[in-house]
């Protein structure tokens, strides 16, 4: 049942955490919060073990040739069969799924362990662990489904769990508003995604094993039943629709506004859902549909533009935030922008590599910030921290290593993955110097804001008198595990000029992406690559140096705050004296723009709608009610409880019927 012909059953992967969630939700009244936490950790731990087993089985298979990667494929039953919507409950476990499942279950397991300590005194702990397990199950369905419609089930599942977990502290209304915002904005993207998937289903179907059909659609002059459009135009439309769906889930421009607010949830949730796994679902989607995007061409350019613009946008915003989690949220948006840029210039395996390294160092940073917040009694403003280096030693070490990887410090995983993307952005057929330039500026800003965190939070003198209580071991050692990987995992894809074991990751994914993976154009050599790696290293180190002079222990606070910076909240309209800093603080005013363009008109429309509903629609039904009541008052007087009256009425009735019958019946 679980292993057939040496192939492990794939349905077990999402089933284990789903079972955990089921047990927790069914018996939550009967179990203690600690039991719920242990069940959740156990379910995800077992799941990680099974994923490791599946992965080793997959890696043990002989590779047929350079163009066909081995994969496991298992069909359970037909789920939907309606016209073009054909979907089976079937699982596909190839190298892409393998990487994603390892991150989801592995990093997910560490975050579960961390949550066990972090959520210890929380009254909603059982609910929390139930939804966390359900999230892992949905995410695993998302990355192991063999067709896009089944994948969409997981896609919506993670969205719902994200909604529940952002609103975990639901007694505060702004947390509920943040949850609703996240749900609605991602849902807007999902509408485009559904349209895109339906279009793909119409053209070639959505089974991930048969997407090569997009190649032949591209050649069609006029697609049959395709509104008289050419195959190429339809592919571009489908690609842009899928990109919009991916942008909603992965918080890319212009649908990025939900992610900074999503930090209202517990910090481990931010680490798992809003940094390591769910927000990278868009990257997974584009990587799966790479044939469509390459066939469209325009789609690739759009992806690259969105990625580069988002990376730059979010990095500028991150530089002036005061909330430690909000800095990391903008940094996540920015880093996913890098992944999307990598996909958009055709370096699909490098986009996945950056996802892989980012999952480790960003989960590490989020969990470390969670430990800091937990130790300081839920203080999140970095300007109320300071001098924590000696008080939180393990956390500081993890935070420093994570920040180094995020900043692209030479030798860390972030350096290799980011540099490889920048190199591709310059040299492949889809790339150009503009993408490279934007990416490089973003890398500089990334180094600045990531070390701003280190200098403000851990160095200098304490700015506010808060008692630091010592974190329990479970709040520290998962960070150190993640930090270890954040630093070292870069060896999986050393740059080409190193020579030894270089590009192992790209070779690993070569059979999947094949000729669609864009290679550097003629004329770019390893020597060039080494020079650009040096430039990247110099930019990262320069960023750290600039950060030291701007935010180091002896620096004046920059940008200059308007009032007491320690009192600044996310809704403070003007925290800084400089107008530019305030503009960046509020995410380039995009929330205000959307409020003016979309939210307020919709609210006004709803008010009109409510009036119409109350007066016109309700009026019709109340009129019907009034008519019925009028008839009722006519007949109600007969039923007065006087038996004599009843008998008399009956007599008249009998006489009338008798006369009628006698007059009708012929003699």
């Amino acid at each position: 049942m679980f292993v057939h012909n040496g192939i492990p059953a794939l349905w077990v992967i999402p089933a284990l955490p789903a079972l955990g969630a089921l047990i927790i939700f069914l018996f939550s009244k009967a179990m203690s919060p600690q039991t719920a936490g242990r069940i959740a950790c156990g379910a995800v731990g077992l799941c990680f073990g099974w994923v490791a087993f599946c992965s080793s089985s997959l890696l043990g298979l002989p590779s047929a040739d350079a163009h066909n990667a081995p994969y496991f494929h298992q069909e359970l039953w037909t789920w939907l069969s309606a016209g073009i919507v054909q979907s089976k409950v079937a699982f596909l476990f190839d190298r892409v799924s393998m990487v994603f499942t390892i991150i989801v279950s592995g990093v997910g397991f560490l975050i579960h362990l961390y949550s066990y300590a972090y959520m210890d005194d929380d009254e909603g702990e059982r609910r929390y662990f139930g939804y966390l397990n359900l999230f892992v199950a949905s995410m695993l369905i998302l990355v192991t489904a063999d067709n896009a419609f089944f994948m969409f089930m997981g896609w919506e599942g993670v969205g719902a769990c994200s909604f529940f977990l952002i609103g975990h502290y639901y007694s505060k209304s702004e947390n509920c508003a943040a949850a609703t915002k996240a749900f609605l904005v991602t849902r807007l993207g999902d509408i485009f995604l559904i349209l895109g998937l339906l279009l793909c289903a119409k053209l070639v179907g959505v089974s991930f094993l048969n997407l090569s059909g997009f190649e032949s659609v591209k050649e069609m002059e006029v697609v049959k039943g395709g509104w008289g459009m050419s195959g190429h135009a339809l592919l571009t439309i489908a690609a842009l629709l899928l990109l919009a769906g991916a942008a909603g889930k992965s918080a890319q421009l212009p649908l990025q506004t939900w992610l900074p607010d999503a930090m209202a949830g517990p910090t481990p949730v931010s680490a798992l859902i809003h940094a390591a796994t769910m927000v990278t679902a868009g990257v997974y989607l584009i990587a799966r549909f790479h044939i469509l995007f390459v066939a469209s061409g325009t789609g690739m350019t759009a992806v690259a533009i969105v990625g580069a613009a988002t990376a730059f946008y979010a990095a500028t915003c991150a530089c002036v935030q005061t909330d430690i989690k909000r800095i990391l949220a903008y940094s996540t948006i920015s880093q996913i922008g890098y992944m999307v840029l990598g996909l958009g210039v055709g370096a699909f395996s490098l986009g996945l590599f950056h996802f892989f390294t980012h999952a480790f160092y960003k989960a590490c940073l989020f969990l470390a910030s969670g430990t800091v917040i937990h130790s300081l009694h839920h203080e999140q403003n970095i300007y109320n921290m300071g001098g924590l280096k000696s008080k939180l030693k393990g956390t500081f070490a993890a935070f420093l290593l994570g920040s180094a990887a995020l900043a692209g410090f030479p030798g860390t995983s972030g350096f290799f993955s980011k540099d490889a993307i920048l190199w591709s952005a310059l040299t492949t057929g889809f790339g150009n110097p503009v993408f490279y330039g934007v990416g490089l500026v973003t890398a500089f800003l990334t180094a600045v804001y990531s070390f701003r965190l280190i200098f403000v939070v851990f160095y200098g003198a304490p700015r506010k008198d808060i008692h630091v209580h010592h974190p329990s071991p479970l709040l520290v050692w998962p960070l150190l595990v993640l930090a270890f990987f954040a630093v070292t995992i870069g060896v999986l894809n050393l740059p080409g000029f190193v020579g030894f074991k270089s590009l192992a990751w790209e070779h690993f994914f070569h059979p999947i992406f094949g000729e669609f993976q864009a290679e550097p154009k003629e004329g770019w050599t390893h020597a060039h690559e080494a020079i650009f790696a040096l430039i990247g290293a110099a930019v990262a180190l320069g960023g750290i140096l600039v950060s030291y002079t701007l935010f180091g222990p002896n620096a004046k606070m920059l940008p200059e705050p308007a009032g007491n910076i320690g009192d600044v909240e996310n809704s403070t309209p003007k925290p800084y004296k400089s107008a530019l800093a305030n503009f960046l603080f509020h995410g380039w005013g995009m929330d205000q723009l959307y409020a003016a363009v979309f939210v307020r008109p919709v609210k006004r429309l709803s008010m009109i709608n409510a009036w119409v509903d109350k007066v016109v629609v309700d009026g019709v039904y109340e009129l019907i009610g009034a008519i019925v009541r009028a008839f009722h008052s006519l007949v109600v007087s007969f039923q007065n409880g006087r038996v004599g009256r009843y008998a008399m009425v009956m007599l008249f009735g009998v006489v009338a019927v008798t006369i009628l019958v006698m007059s009708i019946i012929p003699r």
């Binding site: 409880g641 006087r642 038996v643 004599g644």
Partner: protein, 101 residues
């Protein structure tokens, strides 16, 4: 000899008297008596019918009607007693009105 049709006419008159009694009387005892009269009018009609048609069916029917009437009187009187205990009156209008309150 009296024609059987006269018995039918008598039966009709008795039935009308009974109905008027049921409708017009306010005292429950008189209403019960009027119902008895109506029942007997129906019985008389059965007997007259059996005489007209020269068959015994109607007379057998009347034998069945008698115990039904007796049972009905027993129940009716028991009801009347209970009602009197509760309301201290057998005036149907008074009882009906006191129920409404």
């Amino acid at each position: 000899m009296i024609p059987a049709y006269h018995a039918l006419i008598l039966s009709g008159i008795l039935f009308c008297i009974g109905i008027v009694g049921v409708i017009a009387r306010r005292n429950l005892l008189f209403v019960l008596m009027s119902i008895e009269i109506m029942m007997n009018a129906a019985g008389l009609a059965f007997v007259a019918g059996s005489a007209i048609h020269g068959s015994y069916d109607g007379q057998i029917f009347f034998i069945f009607i008698l115990p039904v009437a007796a049972a009905e009187v027993a129940i009716g009187l028991a009801l009347a007693l209970l009602l009197y205990q509760k309301y201290k009156t057998l005036d149907l209008w008074v009882i009906a009105r006191s129920k409404e309150e």
